[in-house]
């Protein structure tokens, strides 16, 4: 399953992002997950919490999560957090 994030992911937008992605996860019937960040124009450390939270939920289903196409700023933030150790980046 591809999950594409759009716009800005910060404290204000995080609740909606969590709710929307969790609704997809609840539906079930999908395989491994790719979080496509190519259309995410801004993300702060709140976004790291959002991604890790979704990772934990998906991992419980026995599935893997990868991250695709982060911007340079988001990539730097994700590297800093060490998140790629559990959610590898794919091209």
């Amino acid at each position: 399953m591809y999950i594409c994030l759009f716009g800005e992911l910060d404290e204000h937008t995080a609740p909606n992002a969590r709710q929307t992605i969790d609704a997809c996860i609840l539906q079930g019937g999908f395989g491994n997950v790719v979080l496509d960040l190519s259309n995410l124009s801004f993300m702060d450390s709140t976004g790291i919490g959002v991604l890790l939270g979704r990772y934990k939920k998906i991992k419980k289903l026995g599935l893997t999560v990868c991250i695709a196409s982060p911007s340079q700023q988001t990539d730097k933030l994700l590297k800093l957090s060490g998140i790629y150790q559990v959610m590898p980046k794919i091209s």
Binding site: E8, D10, E11, H12, R18, F42, M43, D44, S45, T46, I48, G49, V50, L52, G53, S71, Q72, Q73, K76, L77, L80, S81
Partner: protein
């Protein structure tokens, strides 16, 4: 006025903005400060780093300083001095009990929530300098970044 004085005046500028402690204002603050920094002709990476670090500081004030109480205000001051941007974020919230611990990566006072505990780590990584002063009357975060040509 000679050329030297012209340059001195051109390279000094200041803006202040105060916003209510509401998360919707984070985007307004970072966009405003980013626009203010444009006169230094920063790269896209540099401006994104400033926006991210600033958002972390403002978010700390809103989420931790005021603990979600929207009656508080966050005061942001940005100063251009030569080729360096100085940013000061101040709140009158409850303060940070242990600044030394709060600056460490993955430290969070809200482990029940999906908090990464990376706020100050991001500020340190994306800016050149970071100073945090806090007591029970509020917190002041000062950070700066040189915009290299």
């Amino acid at each position: 006025m000679n050329n030297k004085d012209d340059k001195k005046v051109f390279n000094q500028n200041k803006m202040t903005i105060s916003v209510q402690s509401k998360t919707v204002n984070e985007a307004l603050v970072r966009s405003s400060v980013a626009a203010f920094c444009a006169e230094l002709d920063p790269t896209v990476d540099q401006i994104n780093e400033i926006k991210t670090a600033l958002t972390e500081a403002v978010n700390n004030s809103i989420v931790h300083g005021y603990d979600g109480d929207i009656k508080g205000f966050v005061h942001i001051e940005a100063t251009i001095n030569g080729d360096t941007v100085h940013i000061r974020v101040q709140d009158q919230g409850k303060g940070i009990a242990d600044v030394e611990a709060a600056i460490k990566p993955f430290y969070t006072t809200k482990p029940d929530q999906e908090r990464s505990g990376m706020g100050f780590t991001v500020m340190e990584a994306f800016m050149d300098n970071l100073k945090v002063v806090s007591n029970d009357r509020g917190t002041v975060v000062e950070m700066s970044k040189r915009i290299k040509a």
